[in-house]
Symmetry: C2
Subunit: 266 residues, 2 copies
DNA sequence: TAATCGCAGATTGTTGACAATCTACAACCC
DNA sequence: GGGTTGTAGATTGTCAACAATCTGCGATTA
């Protein structure tokens, strides 16, 4: 905490500093910081975000914090309950499932597009990524695999040159990362990493060979395989602790009454 | 204007009124109203949204209005320039193009899913929609076609039962509607309606027959054909008025200096 | 005359205060 | 003892005021 740039970086060139001040409002800064906190795991699904506390921590008033909340809500990272506060979203398994399906369709499109448009330089960059991931798997640093994996997929989407596709993709992946957070650390170590990277190689190979259909199919199947691995890991985690009696249970006490009224409000 | 529900609808059942008050904040109401205004064309791309004026018009303070702005910004409907205000977004042609590509991939998925899962009742509902659109085309009320068209596609996505897919789809379509606004009224009357509805029939036929591949392909091609029709209409509109000297030009005066500084800020 | 400068009004960014609501705990009743 | 009621503290929803920035227009000057 307290890593906010409260003091301005005077070292930078003056023009860029001016431009920065012009485009950055406090709301933007707060939004960015909160997104970072959530995505990096400093805040976990179900956690409550206290307006006043956050405002004090970031040395701003509650206004910008509330505005940042509305943006994060729209992006699916937090959820607001009137008069109760905002909470880091807990993605239900069913929603994660649906998201995987959408993501698979998008990545299939990515594969098809890249098979036609990719450049030699881009292929080279992808192969370098593959090697780095290979080292992460075979070496004793499997913790590094996940960020590399994210970067690899993001790079593929970037290479399509379709910004809308990229934005849509990232939105979905952000939410999936939220879902994976708890099961991830343990889940993916069960041995799926080698398999996953094998699928990555198949993808790059198909793209490089210019086979659009195969490239699309390999990406689609890779996403669906990831989903299956996630389910498996989730199942393991689930049975590991018998009755899910740890952590924050959002429904208890008179919450039941509130929930019932909410549902009736439809 | 002034169609806000300032007075509460006492006629409704008390429980639903309570539930409504529990879930609706002023921010939510303002957001909804602004979205309606934009989507129904009361506000056009490029228009400036004045905080104080809107707050007065809706009888709230500027706080909720600002929060609604942040949500609309994240959803892509408006765009904010610090210290200058928020504007209804003007979708560049290239972005619309990219959006059509993403949408086509999503609708292809919709077709594939529905070919497997659709129910007889749903098929019936789709066929009724087809007839309504048919009447709108053959009759002398082509203005009704567009909303029916939107409803038809939305219904298809709803029938997949995948809420995430639906949310993603709607986000894209909202932005596309923003893009189409100016060219639409004139553009689609050039005669594409009959063709469009023919494609709709092909889609429903393929879905009903359970042919996933054909259903997906027909939807993909329909979206791409829509894009082509849009381009054509846009081209017509473009050449119709020689030098695009009508309407609001966002870049003029000392704006050029600002824009240059913004770009340097990257 | 054309360009620049500077000011007044308007608009946005941010803040602090007040009102409404919720949460937790204690007193009370059956 | 179990359950309800009521109250105090904390938290959120909303508002109005202040500060910073921008916009447009007139004055000034070369």
């Amino acid at each position: 905490m307290s890593t906010m740039p409260s003091a301005s970086p005077i070292g930078a060139s003056p023009s860029s500093t001016i431009a920065l001040l012009q485009s950055q409002s406090l709301t933007t800064l707060v939004r960015r910081e909160l997104e970072r906190m959530i995505l990096e795991g400093e805040l976990s699904p179900g956690d409550k975000l206290n307006e006043a506390a956050l405002a004090a921590q970031l040395s701003v008033s509650r206004g910008p914090v509330r505005e940042a909340f509305r943006a994060l809500q729209e992006s699916g990272l937090v959820q607001t309950e009137k008069n109760r506060g905002v909470f880091v979203r807990e993605i239900p398994m069913q929603e994660a499932d649906e998201t995987y399906a959408v993501r698979a369709a998008l990545e299939q499109l990515v594969g098809q597009m890249l098979a036609v448009s990719i450049s030699p330089a881009q292929i080279k960059e992808l192969r370098q990524m593959l090697e780095r991931m290979e080292r992460a798997v075979s070496g004793r640093s499997p913790d590094n695999y996940h960020p590399l994996n994210l970067q690899f997929h993001d790079l593929l989407v970037q290479f399509t040159g379709n910004d809308k596709l990229l934005a849509t993709y990232r939105r979905l992946v952000n939410e999936l990362n939220l879902y994976r957070r708890d099961t991830l650390a343990q889940g993916s170590k069960v041995g799926g990493l080698t398999v996953s990277n094998g699928e990555h190689r198949r993808i790059v190979q198909a793209i490089a060979s210019g086979n659009a259909e195969e490239a699309g199919r390999s990406m689609y199947e890779h996403v669906m395989a990831s989903r299956a691995r996630m389910h498996k890991a989730k199942g393991v985690a689930e049975t590991a602790l018998p009755d899910r009696e740890k952590g924050h249970d959002p429904v208890k006490g008179q919450d039941k009454r509130r929930v019932a009224m909410r549902e009736a409000a439809l």
